[in-house]
């Protein structure tokens, strides 16, 4: 079974050279720490920066240089800054090659719910709806089950949707799965996790074909 770092490491393996990438808050943010050698990617933050770099050294924080999580950051050499409409032009116009975000629920048709729990305080969708409606390549990074042990990979989402039929791949603490017309297709098992455990933790349709390899993570 993977921890959050492990999920981030596994998704980092999906990165391809010269990709522009938008990472959501939470697990996705960790991916920036595990970029494979020889792979050159640039991170976009939807408040308006491309070429987002690491956190500043202590004492060098700049209130005018933050990411979409409102964290102080630094720009990389070659970075560019722009207004929020241009930022979402990049997103909506499909100039970003990969979007990774968290979710509360994913359905086996690619629907995603990650912004609202009825009856609870609603913080808002931020840029998530624009991101999921636009991106060609969306990976969801999340735990396979919620805190009460209930599957987050469902036949149908129960929470208000963020987007429909948009998720392409899900990486959880248990598995890597593609969204296919037949449902979640199991591609890889987390180290030490059996197919049966994944089946038990998946409420949506699960396609298991042949031998399912174990993820290769250092």
């Amino acid at each position: 079974m993977l921890d959050k770092k492990g999920i981030a490491k596994r998704i980092a393996q999906e990165l391809q050279h010269n990709w522009y990438v938008n990472l959501g808050i939470g697990i996705p943010t960790l991916i920036a720490n595990y970029i494979p050698e020889g792979i050159d990617v640039e991170f976009q933050s939807e408040n308006g920066i491309l070429g987002m770099g690491p956190f500043p050294f202590e004492g060098e924080e700049d209130a005018d240089m933050i990411n979409a999580g409102k964290q102080t950051i630094t720009p990389m050499p070659g970075a560019s800054i722009f207004d929020s409409a241009t930022s979402f032009a990049m997103i909506r116009g499909q100039h970003i090659q990969l979007t990774v975000l968290g979710a509360m629920e994913v359905a086996d048709n690619g629907d995603i719910a990650n912004w609202k729990i009825p009856g609870k305080m609603v913080k808002g969708m931020g840029g998530a709806m624009d991101l999921v409606a636009s991106a060609d390549n969306i990976i969801v990074a999340m735990m396979h089950t919620n805190k009460r042990g209930k599957s987050k990979l469902l036949r149908q989402c129960t929470l208000p949707l963020t987007g429909v039929r948009c998720v392409k791949k899900v990486v959880t603490n248990l598995a890597v799965l593609d969204i296919t017309p037949q449902g979640f297709k199991l591609l890889e098992r987390a180290p030490g996790v059996s197919v049966e455990e994944i089946q038990n933790a998946t409420e949506g349709r699960l396609v298991v074909e042949g031998d399912i390899p174990e993820m290769q993570i250092d």
């Binding site: 933050s45 939807e46 408040n47 308006g48 920066i49 690491p54 956190f55 500043p56 050294f57 202590e58 004492g59 060098e60 924080e61 700049d62 209130a63 005018d64 240089m65 933050i66 990411n67 979409a68 999580g69 409102k70 964290q71 102080t72 950051i73 720009p75 800054i81 722009f82 207004d83 929020s84 409409a85 930022s87 979402f88 997103i91 909506r92 629907d111 305080m121 609603v122 913080k123 808002g124 969708m125 931020g126 840029g127 998530a128 709806m129 624009d130 409606a133 636009s134 208000p160 949707l161 963020t162 987007g163 429909v164």
Partner: protein, 233 residues
Amino acid sequence: MNKLVANAKEATKDIESGMTLMLGGFGLCGIPENCIAALVDKGINNLTCISNNAGVDDFGLGLLLQKRQIKKMISSYVGENDEFERQMLSGELEVDLIPQGSLASRCQAGGAGIPAFFTPAGYGTEVAFGKEVRYFNGKPHILESALTADFAIVKAWKGDRYGNLIFKGTARNFNPLMAMAGKITIAEVEELVEPGELDPNFIHTPGIFIQRIFQGEKYEKRIEQRTVRQRLT
């Protein structure tokens, strides 16, 4: 083309209760601190505020929320604010949540004389309720309308009395878009410079969009999430 006013008080003198305001900024980054303080002092209320976020409890738009001056928020993300949560859950505050990109584009459209446009964002979600759906290239889109405001209030780094503005870093965010969409747009700047000092080739907001400008008295520029890394020693 002299749009200079003395201070935030003069700039906001004719903002009245019940009006719709746009306020630039993302989180606490690039918010018009001085004008917000002036609005708190004025004590007007029933405001509709279009702003990506709603500040924190004791800063930014949170200051207006504390004094119950806001009737309705139009935002994309409103976490980080307990008073906001209380007013929203109790029904004192109306909240219209909009996808962030749609919010940005709706402000830009409002300033650009584009009354409506199609976007894929929000299709199939509650954001699409009551909105026209149309397919383009086989993909569903919803029709979103432009946003405008009685006053837009933006904060820039430098500006001149013609209203030309430049922003610093990610404090740009919604500011140039909202600057276009106000019937009257007020710009507060950290540093007022002489016309001609800003290179015409690198002006972020041309002065035509600005009706009033002043240099803010002071800027706290509070950091919401101070994240740092360790120096290797």
